[in-house]
């Protein structure tokens, strides 16, 4: 076998092996998207009910809760970025990190310092490589987050928020979250949102006509809000994590699908090249034989 042909065959083998891996990863991600979507759907009733409750309580009660009152002189803002632990997901983590950068730039324009809270190894590595301060980081659950993970993140953020930023170096006045919204299998958007101080977001359903029910509170409005708001933040973060996880799987599936397609393409063109090389080799051998026979016959004809 000619050297050229051997090189082509070797490259084909290696591309085929890669294709098998990317194909397997594509299938795994495809099956996990469905599960991740179901988890997003399962967490939605809780998030909706909690949002309704928070809007009801916040609009009824006149209490000035620290979690709903914007600071008069904000100094620091926390930015929570949710990214992936593993790569092979196209631009997924990069998009979230870039969105975080834009948000940080906006905050700096307003004269705020940023405290970085990071979820996912990709974001942590990005910030570590650039020697930036990391206020908190969590890794190891980006593709399958549990409520406990969300609670750990939320607790750290709320602690930082409740600390006084004027005196405490770790205190923050605002909390922003950057995550990837799962719109559909094909569309995922990196989004930045402000979580605290609370802007009581209108839910997708319009408010019922007439007066809001005047709730009785047990024990009282302030206590209820105290208990409610941390849960609300946890639920928001949990929902963001679940959506990000679904987006991660979708992004990975898409990236692996195009990798598989590219491998297919590559195998096709390598097969063509290998065939051409083999053909050239055969042609050369034939012409060598013919040439050799010619030379032999003309040599023997000359000796006679």
């Amino acid at each position: 076998m000619g050297a050229q042909l051997r090189v082509y065959r070797r490259r084909m083998r290696s591309v085929k092996a890669t294709k098998k891996i990317t194909k397997a990863m594509e299938l795994i991600s495809a099956s996990r998207i469905v599960k991740a979507q179901q988890r997003v759907a399962a967490s939605t009733p809780y998030a909706n009910e909690l949002t309704r409750a928070v809007s009801a309580v916040a609009s009824v009660s006149s209490t000035n809760h620290p979690l709903t009152t914007p600071s008069e002189n904000p100094k620091r803002a926390a930015v929570l970025i949710i990214s992936a632990d593993r790569g092979m997901a196209g631009a997924y983590s990069n998009n979230a990190i870039k969105e975080g950068e834009q948000l940080a730039a906006l905050l700096r324009e307003r004269g705020l310092q940023t405290a970085n809270f990071l979820v996912g190894r990709k974001a942590v590595n990005y910030y570590k490589f650039r020697n930036r301060d990391i206020a908190g980081s969590w890794t190891g659950f980006s593709d399958n987050p549990t409520y406990e993970d969300a609670r750990a993140v939320a607790d750290a953020l709320i602690t930082a928020f409740l600390a006084d930023s004027q005196t405490d170096i770790n205190g923050v006045d605002e909390i922003h979250i950057v995550y990837t919204e799962f719109k559909s299998m094909l569309t995922q958007n990196a989004l930045a949102k402000r979580m605290l101080p609370l802007e009581v977001v209108e839910s997708s359903t319009p408010a019922p006509a007439g007066l809001l029910p005047s709730y009785e509170f047990e024990p009282n409005a302030g206590e209820v809000l105290n208990a409610l708001l941390p849960r609300y933040i946890q639920a928001r973060i949990f929902n963001a994590m679940l959506q990000s996880a679904a987006s991660e799987h979708a992004a990975r599936r898409r990236a692996m699908k195009s990798a598989t397609d590219n491998a297919d393409e590559l195998i096709k063109s390598l097969t063509r090249l290998a065939n051409a090389a083999r053909q050239a080799e055969i042609t050369q051998e034939i012409s060598e034989i013919v040439g050799g026979a010619d030379a032999l016959s003309s040599a023997s004809a000359g000796s006679e």
């Binding site: 009733p45 809780y46 409750a53 009801a56 009785e216 509170f217 209820v224």
Partner: protein
């Protein structure tokens, strides 16, 4: 007249349907809800939530903290974990 009830946790909708009576333990004590109850928002402590369905069935859940809100015969119970 019946109550429309939803008992939800962060990971799933645990129970939903129509009920005639609900009892739960709030920070102030045990509380019962019948149809026509005034709008109420309560903080739950660890304990049992009883739901008596319209079909006469009686379901009990052990919740660890959470909230109970009642308005216009619509009851939602939010809890972090149920068993």
């Amino acid at each position: 007249m019946a109550l429309t009830v939803a008992l939800v946790s962060p990971t799933q909708k645990v129970w939903s349907g129509e009920a005639v009576f609900i009892s739960a333990r709030t920070t102030e004590g045990v509380l019962g809800v019948l149809p026509g109850h005034a709008p109420l928002f309560g903080v739950l402590v660890d304990g049992a939530v009883n739901i008596k369905g319209v079909d006469g069935s009686n379901t009990q859940f052990n919740v660890s903290g959470g909230f109970l809100s009642v308005s216009n015969d619509r009851v939602s119970i939010l809890t972090e974990s149920v068993n």
